[in-house]
Amino acid sequence: MNCKRFERQIWAYLEGQLPDARAFEAHVGACPRCQRQLEAARATSRALRALPRHPAPENLAAQVRRRIAESPAYPRLGWARVWRRVALAPALGLLTIAAWWGWQAQQTNAPVNTAAEDPTESLVALHEQLEAADWAPSPTPSYFISTGYTR
């Protein structure tokens, strides 16, 4: 074993993760430089594990409680977030129904001045009918009222 390989295996050896440590141990017995490296690594490992825990400030819990009380922007159980999610679905549904209802109403009110008997038969017929409704002088097509669009 050479010194480079030895150095790569030092921490695995210290953690008992070297499957076969014989070559490693033979090298350390013959190489004073690597022996010093092993000692340094062992001292490092022990020192890291023995680093003291710094006690948190005694008033930490009180300070956190104070900051929680001072932050109304974040409701306790995220109700604003939940509400947004719950409220969005019916709102979108209502909008769709309103648009559909508006369109249906417009279908019955619009003057039929096209050859097509059934407006759903072709897109061209539908387009023409909408165009006709759009140009009708009065009343304002309900489609635009229902979507909040005013001309």
């Binding site: 010093r36 690594a41 490092t44 890291l48 594990r49 023995a50 006690p55 948190a56 995220g78």
Partner: protein, 206 residues
């Protein structure tokens, strides 16, 4: 296992607005998180603010905590993100970041008031403290990326998998950062032992 299920119960209670349960969570993790943050940012004032912020964010995020990660992993993730943000902000103001240890009001290194869990031998205790200072200093000189991994693995004793989850990086990256970090600390310790008298060296040899 029992601790885990105990923690899960605590989390459920805290979610149900049980203030005492959240208080217990704080008690469980306060010292751990404060120690970690203090070593990450290097001064007590910022560490105090950041540990408060960690618990505040935890409190606010509790409804969304799904328990897929352990409570500890989740809290370390919040703390780590806050430390990284803090270091980024500080890096914009001050070009270099170095760890100076805890300071008292006069800016002098404070005497750390920790229970001495070393051997009763007074010489060994002094040597351990010296070595501890060398290691703390070397940790402070690591880049934030390396420091995070080293602290989480060697000091906070999280697993590779947990650290990968905290930092959202592959396990291979965790291991390679750990190797680099350890190599730098080891270099500092080797230099200290090199300069130390033979008697000291003998104390740290096996």
């Amino acid at each position: 296992m029992d601790t885990l299920s105990g923690e899960a119960r605590l989390v459920e209670r805290a979610k149900a607005q049980d203030e005492a349960a959240f208080e217990q969570i704080m008690n469980l993790y306060a010292d751990r998180l404060y120690s970690y943050i203090l070593r990450m940012v290097g001064n007590a004032t910022d560490a105090e603010d950041l540990v408060q912020e960690t618990f505040l964010r935890a409190y606010q995020g509790l409804p969304n905590f799904d328990g897929r990660a352990s409570l500890g992993t989740w809290l370390y993730r919040i703390a780590t993100n806050l430390c990284i943000d803090h270091q980024r902000r500080r890096a914009r103001r001050v070009p270099t970041v170095s760890y100076s240890g805890q300071e008292d009001e006069d800016g002098e290194p404070a005497e750390w008031d920790f229970p001495d869990h070393q051997t009763p031998n007074p010489l060994q205790a002094v040597l351990n403290r010296e070595l501890e200072a060398v290691v703390e200093d070397a940790i402070g000189k690591l880049s934030p990326k390396l420091r995070t991994v080293l602290l989480l693995y060697d000091v906070e004793e999280l697993s590779y998998e947990e650290i990968a989850r905290v930092l959202h990086i592959p396990i291979g990256t965790v291991k390679s950062r750990l190797n680099h970090a350890r190599a730098q600390i080891q270099k500092a310790v080797a230099a200290y032992l090199e300069d130390a008298p033979a008697a000291v060296q003998a104390r740290f040899a096996k």
